[in-house]
Each structure stands twice: as C-alpha cells, then as structure tokens.
Amino acid sequence: MEAFGLLLHGFAVLLTWKTLVLMMVGLVLGIFVGVLPGLGGPNGVAILLPLTFTMDPTSAIVMLSCIYWGALFGGAITSILFNIPGEAWSVATTFDGYPMAQQGRAAEALTAAFTSSFIGSLVAVLLITFLAPMISSFALKFGPPEFFAVYLLTFCSFVGLGREAKHKTVISMSLGLLLAGVGMDTVSGQLRMTFGSAELLRGINFLVAVIGLFGISEILLTMEERLALRGHAASISLRVVLSVWKDLPKYWVTLLRSSFIGCWLGITPGGAIAASFMGYNLAKRFAKEPESFGKGRIEGVFAPETAAHASGTSALLPMLALGIPGSGTAAILLGGLMVWGLNPGPLLFVEHKDFVWGLIASMYLGNVVGLVLVLTTVPIFASILRVPFAAVAPMIIVSCAIGAYAIQNAMFDIWLMLGFGVVGYVFKKIGIPLAPFTLALVLGNRAEDAFRLSMIGSGGDLKVFWSNGLVGSITTLAILLLFWPVIDGLLGRVGWTRRAKSAR
C-alpha cells in the first residue's frame, strides 16, 4: 500500500503542463528515432540527452524515458510495414507481422504490436512499482563486497549466458572496464592511462562512446546495406483497434507467459533480444497449429512484442534499485542520472522520492499516451521512410556530434565519437558485442571502487567475497554463470551418458 501512496505522489509530481508537454515531445521524438533507419532507442536517448541538461532531473528523465517508450513503439512500424527490424529484438516481430501486412492486415498487426507492447510494459511497470522499493530497502544492507559481487554477477552472466563467442564478450567487457579507468583515479587522485594528454584527464565519457559506437557505426552499416525499401502503407481505424482488443482475452496465456519471460530476462541481464525470441518460440511450441506461425498469425506478433517490451521496461528495475542497468538503454539513462548529480541505487529511493516516483508514474502515463499516439499517427510516421536516406544520414551525424560535444563542451569528444564509430562498425561486423562494452564502461568505476573498498576492508583477503551467506551466494552464482557453458556441457554429457546406459 505504501507503494501505491508513493505512486499517487509521483502522479502529482508529474501532472503539470510542463512535464506533460515534455512527455509528448519525448514520445514523438522517440517514435521518430524508432522509425528512422540507423537509429533506435539507445542512440536516440544518447543523442537527445543534451536537450535535458538544463532541465530539472524529473522533467529530464520523464522526457528521456518517453523517448525510450516512443522508440520501442516506433520500431514495430518498420518491422511490420517494411520487414526491417529497427532493433534486434524486433526481428521476431517480422516473422508474422510482415506476412500479415502482405495479406492486407497491416492495421491489425500494428494494433497487435502496439497493444502487446503496452501490456508487456504495463506488467513490467507494475513489477517495478511493487518490487523496486523492496529491493532497494534490502540493498541498503549492502556493503562494498555485496555491491562488487552484484557487479561481478552482471559481468559473469554476460559472458556465460551471451550468445556471442565467449572470448569476444571478454574482450568487449575488459576493454570497456579499462577505458572506464582512464583519467583521474577517484580514490588516490593519481592519473592513469592518460599518457600526458590533457584531453584524457577528463576520462572517456561513456555517452560519447555510446553515440559513436551505436549512432555513427549504425550510419556506416546502414549505408553499407542496400537501402531500397519496399513496404506497405497503413492507417488504423477504431474498428480494427476494437476488434483486436475484443479478441485479446483469447490470447491471455500467450500475453502472460511472454510478460513473465520478458520481466525475468529484463531483470537478469538476458535482454530483450533473448526475451522476444523465447516469447515467440514458446508461443509456437504451445500452439495448436505451430506450422501456421511465420505465415501471418497474430500470436506471432503478440508474443515477441510483449516479451521484448516487458524486458526493456523491467531492465530499469535493477538500475533504479541497485544502480546496475539491465540493458544498453538503461545504462544510458543511468549515465543521465549521473550527469544530473543523482546517484542511482538504493539511496535514490530515500533521497529523491519525487524523482523516482515521478519517473515510475511517467512510465504508466507515457505508455498510455504513447499507445494512443502511435495508433493515431502511424501513416505520418511510416511516411518518414520516404525521406531519402542521403538527407537523413548527415542530419543524424550532426545530431550525434552535437550530443557528443554538449556532454563536456569538448571538441576532442567529437573526434572520440568518430573513433568509436569506426570501432563500433568493425566490432559489429566481426561479432564483438557492444552491450557488454557499454555496461562495463558505465559500471567500471563503480565496480573498481567497490572492489578496492572491499579489499581495503579485508586487508587484501579475497575471502571477503564469501564472508557471509549473501555475498557468498552472489559470488558463487557469478562464478557458476561464468562457467555456465562448461557446466551445461558437463550436465548434458552426464544426461546423455545416463540415457545411453538406460537405452542399453
């Protein structure tokens, strides 16, 4: 009940004309970046972050989170109408969404996608509302060893559970952690890895890296690919919306299952990509006619969209409660919090109640307003794709440069952005994942501080990470996850041996 009261307080903070206008601006910008090829949620949020520097933190985070919701909604438009997944998590949506559009059911597919996005996000926001305060009050008992163990768990789960080659994830993560340490050491004040450069004294701002890694590299990749688009126009009438909504109860199992998968994979760093595919595959597995999937079945849109959006939204839970982002975009939002002088983590709920509950309230309102907005403006946003990419690309580059410069008012950061753009392009092409790099860059200093404080406290004894049940369980779990592929292989072999023996 306490959470409900605080949420009402959040709505009171939120419901001012200024914040509502910012919410609408954020949603429109978000849908815009979601639809544009070469941009997406993380890029959009990173590029538009400078717009919020002069705002108060609550207005700023409301606008940024609305850009995020808008981008999530916008991604479905290109997936369904043009068969172009704007984000990796939209890939599964194209399996049935595009065939539906080809069959003249684009409006139905879009309504299904937007509605399931809304449902997935709503379930995740409810989870955040009731779980975040509990986790944060629990996390107040955490000391440096517990925090380091949680960071370790995040890093290890990326290596152990990621789909990419393990050594590539290790390379990406260690590089991110190393670059996070460039500049002045926060404990001793000594300079590290600056090589006498005055520009590197400030360190490498992760937002500059993100803008280059995602924004510039996406432009390079998009230019490299064929850009001739062929898609379907669509507008959505109230009749189609009501008919899809009327049928929603028929799919409650799919929606609930996908929401659960999404929330689970959002809180653990499984991510929206894994969630969307898992949601789709499970919907197919439990369907009466699995062979009809991929041919324009509405459940094939409901399942991945619900899971992806539940995952994307619930990734904000560990960010708010523990200061550990569950996704790339959550990492960028976390960077935003730090820019505005807020310290994400358990203390945020105690020290900045207005901010936290204003943000949570904006998640509810932003999703409702976003749903209405996309349902009514699909043709306008779909027509953005008629704008030649040769006009869009330089505008994105300029926006990226503005974003990179504004963070620290440094020309050097524009050059750094370009360098990271090339790195991102090459890394993407040879399969080195960028998400672990981003997270490591964001969490690097915090992880190092937690490690050093733990080690100072224990006099250099690594046993501190097993000094009590809580930290011991987290550390052990982290190590198990790191070696999960080996453990999984061994378990599989044992299972296979047993089956082989019983067969004999």
Partner: protein, 180 residues
C-alpha cells in the same frame, strides 16, 4: 478496415550493386583487430604497472585493477588471434565488398571532413556544408532542396540548442560576425 493497398516504395539511387568483389575477409580483420587489441593491452598494462599495480599500506595501488584487466584483455585477444588464425584455413567470409567499402567511405570521409571543419568554422557552418554536400553529391538530390534542407536543419538546431536549451556549441568566424 482502412488498410490501403497502396505500397510505399523508397528506392535509393546509390544502393550498392550486386556481385561486387570482396575487399577483405572477416578473418583478416579479426587478426588485425586482435593484434591491435593485444598492443593496446600491452601499452595500458605497462602504464598501469608503472603507476603501481601492487599493494601499499592503504590498499591496492591505482594501477592494480586496470593492470589485471589489461592482462585479461591480452588473454582474450591472444585467444581470439589463435582462433582467427586457425579458422582462416576454412572458408573466408567477406568483411566488405568493394561497392560496400565505397559506400562506407562515402559517409566516413564527409564525417571526417565535418569534424575538421567544425574545429575551424564551428559546428553550424560545418553542419550546413555536410548536409547540403551529402544530399547533393551522394544522394543526387536537387541543389535547391539540398541547400534549403541544410539551412532549415541548421537553423532549427541553432534555435533548439543555443537559444532554447542554452547548450552552447562550438562556433566560428561566421557566428562571431553576427555577434555570437
């Protein structure tokens, strides 16, 4: 249902041609990247070792944590190098074709020039030149449309960032002439 049968077709005149020859293979690039990362790990590792990678009376020295990260990065890169060298004997996957490389350069070179021009003439002039030049030369869009779009976009950016949100961008002689 108000779904229309109208199809939106967006063709790009500069789309790459099919069957363009390969410039280099992914394996070669992986080897180069691993070698570069190995060199970076060595340089950073040395710097951190020099800063202090052991313990003193107050705890771990500043280079302790990053030094071991350099070791992990070196280990990962070395493993990647071996994997790439072994895999190279198999089928070589194309990293980029000649047409793709040309297209990537068509956006990279103007971006590089944009950074250089920003340094000397400020961001807004560089932005105008990049958008107008890119639309005209790469997109083959009519000159008046290119100039108008570049002017409008730059003006909107100036009003949004410098005027409305007080985010001051780098400026050059042109802005100075107008008193900014």
């Amino acid at each position: 249902m108000s779904q229309t049968d109208l199809e939106i077709v967006v063709d790009d005149p500069t789309a790459p041609e099919e069957n363009s020859p390969s410039v280099t293979s992914s394996g070669t690039i992986e080897i180069i990247v691993c070698l570069l990362l190995l060199a970076l790990a060595a340089i950073l590792g040395y710097d951190n070792w020099r800063t202090g990678a052991s313990w003193d009376s107050t705890g771990p020295e500043p280079g302790y944590f990053p030094f071991y990260l350099s070791v992990i990065l070196a280990g990962g890169s070395l493993y990647g190098l071996i994997v790439a060298l072994v895999a190279r004997r198999g089928a070589a996957e194309t990293f980029v074709t000649r047409a793709q490389a040309r297209r990537v350069m068509a956006v990279f070179v103007p971006t590089l020039l944009f950074c250089v021009v920003t340094q000397f003439l400020g961001l807004y002039v560089a932005s105008f030149l990049l958008i107008a030049g890119f639309m005209r030369l790469v997109g083959k869009i009519a000159l008046w449309k290119s100039l108008l779009t570049a002017f409008l976009f730059t003006a909107i950016m100036f009003v949004t960032f410098d005027v409305a949100f007080d985010v001051i961008m780098p400026k050059g002689p042109l802005e100075a002439a107008f008193g900014y």
